[in-house]
Amino acid sequence: MENIVLGIGVAALAGALATVAGAAEDTESDIGSQGDPNSQVQLAPQMGYNHRIFNKAIAGEPPAWALWIAIGAGVAWAFMIMNVNPVLSIIIGSILASFVQGVYATTAYLGRTASLAKFGQPVYVDILKSVTPVTVAHAFVAIFTTVTIVYLMNAVLGHPFPLPILGIIWGIALGAAGSAVGNPFYGKERQYQNQKFGAGVPISASGNIVRYAEAGERSSLDNGWFTSKFGGPASGICFGLIVFFELWRHLIFEHYFGGWGSVMMGAIIVLIITIMARYIEVWARKTYGPYTAPEEEAI
């Protein structure tokens, strides 16, 4: 009974940590301009719109976050093996991972901007100085909370996977949650505020992102200010719910096969979802069929 209560408590705590992680991750990727919306930032100078927006292309968000969390978890694991206090180990791991994230952010901005020299897009050093520390700070929050979740799963709930492997898995999940939920808000709402609401972005407006702010020129920090109100918390709820529900599966099935019961149940759930997705796809193809041109009405 005590174990179950402890498990429920850990699940609630991990869910809360994950909510913070999701919100910080999305705000970080919007300030740094990572992921899908960044393609418009990259395109803008080629269409003749020079800008002062950060341009942080480091793979997609899921692989990049898999690396940050894996570094955090791996370094924390190494320090814990050396009998260092777990809290201190997680902090050291998170600091090192944030450092790597910051270095990758600067090289991504410099590399991409220097390669746009043909279109006259200059490198703004003040952007590098002002935006990078903000993204690193948000990354630290997201990495620290996620590595803590991973540690709780491994040490308290007895998950059979070692820390760095759990780190990769949850890093991918975190990056995917932020990329899928928060980024469209930044890409479609913030970058294209000058377009008529709900009209979509016509091809002719591609790259014509909003470059001037209410006063002065728009910086990526303004984007963080905007998306942290809605996009960030929405990503947080998404990732929080993922972690929370996921832990319930673990709590219920962990007592079978020495901890591997929950892993097997996870595989079965993935299988069921795959079959469901396939069924929906086949049903949709059969019901709606291939695209047919609308019939001309006789006038």
């Binding site: 690396l67 894996a70 370094v75 190494a78 090289t107 901007t113 020299a117 006259g120 003040d126 990769i168």
Partner: protein, 281 residues
């Protein structure tokens, strides 16, 4: 058939980088064998250098592969490389002293099979796909093997799957405390997989230059080496780990400042707190 579009003319041809990459990284990984001969752990850092050399070669391969219009496929190429490479590397470590060579051969075969399937069965029809995927698998295997040798001081399966944990001063052997059992190989995997695709992905664009891209590759390699050096404190002697960390930090500092200099050279303008320069459209 896809059309080839060169990102930039290369001063150093790809084949030169390929030869230097294979020979250099194999040689460096073998130099960690001095650990076993001398009984010291001082030579572990050569593994990290081998990984850096392999990553520079890998950046050139990715650039060559991606000149066939694989835009968003750049990060995926890194993942494929290390996915195939990690299997070959694990299998290769079973061959004792011949491990690096075995990993190279197994990775080349596995990569060629992947390349054949992608090119002919999935019909991607990219002329260099088979050779590139074979190269990338070898690079993946050698990079992970290099980082493994750097962290543990050895590249054989028995060494990386055995670990000791000290509880109240008593050393107990525990597979969970080993390089493989603790899952540290996952960190090596991600460190390499992001480092191999980042240089070309970040330096992507019409004004791409080869020296800047390769300098960034070395920078990413040394950055990954710093992290592996920190993790190596758990496996090897403090002095040996410190040597590795020091070399990694010096290498990273040098390549990072060089990369900033090269970016300054290539950029349209280098401005501090200046308004948007409007180009006449």
């Amino acid at each position: 058939m896809t059309v080839k579009v060169e990102a930039s003319a290369d001063a150093i041809p790809h084949n030169t980088l390929l030869m230097v990459g294979i020979v250099g990284s194999i040689l460096c990984i073998y130099l960690t064998y001095l650990n076993t001969i001398t009984g010291l752990e001082l030579f572990s850092f050569f593994g990290g250098l081998g990984a850096v050399i392999a990553l520079i070669w890998g950046t050139s391969t990715i650039k060559r592969l991606c000149s066939y219009g694989i835009g968003t496929g750049v990060p995926s190429a890194g993942m494929v490389a290390f996915g195939a490479g990690i299997i070959a590397m694990l299998l290769g470590t079973k061959f004792g002293i011949a491990s690096p060579i075995a990993a190279l051969i197994i990775a080349a075969v596995a990569g060629a099979v992947f390349g054949f399937l992608a090119d002919n069965v999935l019909n991607m029809k990219i002329p260099v796909l088979m050779q590139s995927l074979a190269e990338l698998s070898v690079i993946g295997a050698l990079t992970i093997l290099g980082f493994t040798a750097m962290a543990t001081g050895d590249f054989t399966f028995s060494a990386i799957s055995a670990g000791t944990i000290s509880i109240f001063g008593f050393a107990m052997s525990s597979a969970n405390a080993s390089y493989l059992g603790g899952g540290v190989i996952a960190v090596a995997f991600m460190l390499g997989a992001i480092a191999i695709q980042h240089p070309f992905n970040a330096a992507l664009g019409p004004s791409n230059t080869q020296d800047r891209t390769l300098m960034l590759a070395a920078e990413c390699g040394f950055l990954s080496m710093i992290i592996m050096a920190v993790i190596s404190f758990a496996f090897i002697a403090v002095g040996a780990a410190l040597v590795g960390l020091l070399i990694a930090i010096i290498g990273w500092g040098y390549t990072y400042t060089q990369f900033i200099e090269l970016s300054k050279r290539d950029a349209a303008a280098w401005l501090d707190a200046k308004p948007i320069l409007e180009t006449e459209a």
